[in-house]
Subunit: 262 residues, 2 copies
Amino acid sequence: MAPKWRELADKLAERIRTGEYAAGQQLPHIRDLVEAGEGSKSTVHAAYKALEAEGLVTSSRGHGTVVRRQPPLKRLGITRYDKAKWRDGDEVAFIADRVASGRTHQRGEQTQTVSRMAAPAIVASAFDLAEDAPVYARVRLIKEGSRPTHTLTSYYRPEHVEGTRLVDPTPGPAGRGGGFRVLYDAGYEIDHMREELRARVATPEETALLQLGAGEWVVELHRTVYTADGTVVEFAVGVHAATRFAWSYDFAVPDSAQEDPR
Amino acid sequence: MAPKWRELADKLAERIRTGEYAAGQQLPHIRDLVEAGEGSKSTVHAAYKALEAEGLVTSSRGHGTVVRRQPPLKRLGITRYDKAKWRDGDEVAFIADRVASGRTHQRGEQTQTVSRMAAPAIVASAFDLAEDAPVYARVRLIKEGSRPTHTLTSYYRPEHVEGTRLVDPTPGPAGRGGGFRVLYDAGYEIDHMREELRARVATPEETALLQLGAGEWVVELHRTVYTADGTVVEFAVGVHAATRFAWSYDFAVPDSAQEDPR
DNA sequence: TAGTGGTCTAGACCACTTC
DNA sequence: AAGTGGTCTAGACCACTAA
């Protein structure tokens, strides 16, 4: 026998999935459910808290509890990095960081700050630098419309980007073609990359920034970008709301027996 | 000001991370903390529940609350599919589904059941079949030692595997080289694949099976495996404890302007 | 039987929003 | 001021484990 709060949460979740409670709609007030005999206030509240941790609803004091709009899952494939998009295209800004969704870019969908700092441990390791070596950090919060989707922090080695518009501290997108185009213009054409993904609980800051429910999880993505000769020209950390994305990768089955020896 | 239960949870989490409470060790009993003035039983319990949802501890009635052993993060890269391992090697079983960890395979680290069934929607879509078409499902629970790490369900088209040892309902691994070797022997050499990842809350069944804490998340991985001519020979769904794995993918930056036209 | 975590209640009070 | 969700308490009781 599942606990009462779990049963209530499941019942409400079911009604949300069937559309009986539509996106944006208010769930019954806690005190109403108490009066309706669903249990004490604590019990009903526990159910609501579970729904929030599952990303189904958001609660706020004074307002109430509303069913969260479930934006369609974004599918991120490697074609989002297509050279043609940032090298030849004339689309504005950070295309590679967005999903090719057919929507045209809106101003204000990205905020960015650039700063020079001592490399954190992970960054230093990615660039094979000493831990106190200077790097540029470009922090962005990417939105789609008014809804934040993920954060992305790119790190660069000073000698790769000094003097480019990437380190111009003016807020706003990096300009036509985004960061990869800037690197390309500076003589560093990106060639291959590695992405590493892991999931973890969101920090309180991330919960606020990405408008998550308490207890929701995020996926942290580490991207290391190389030129053809193996130089690391960008290391980036993305933090994505775990429920809102899916990643897909296509690759050939490796065969170490057929690799050409060096 | 964070709530009392959150502050207590953070304090305990900090002590776990610094090793003051070591893996396998018991946390103070709830009633002891109540007596120590950390709050009422409900408050302390809320803190413990948060720690459990974050994967730091496991609680059980009658026993107590112990710090969960944090196995080193498994890094899954595409080299785990190396043809040399399952085609030429003489290692036993399902190498492709395990991490190359240097440990030798132990018997009993995998349980499997094979059944013939009507294709569920996702599976039918992956194979481009009708929804009621028959497929073989091979369900496995993969363990490392006594600790379950993930589940993996592989689906096959009957005409690809009928008569092979893959559909032999005898429990146990699929034999030398695992499923890919069986397909290879049957004339279907795997060539490339697609993996798609997304995170979600664990179902109660998964929570029990994978020994998760209540409220922990899982990563669901969908693997579609193709032969060189584009035939889908396997579709597999893996469910992994989100905290215990990291996935990494290496790939070349695509350039649609340079693709050879067909 | 004793001790553990888990559930549930009734009620007080707090923080925040809207009117 | 009224109404919302959120926190906290004290205590009763339940489910499970071990000796």
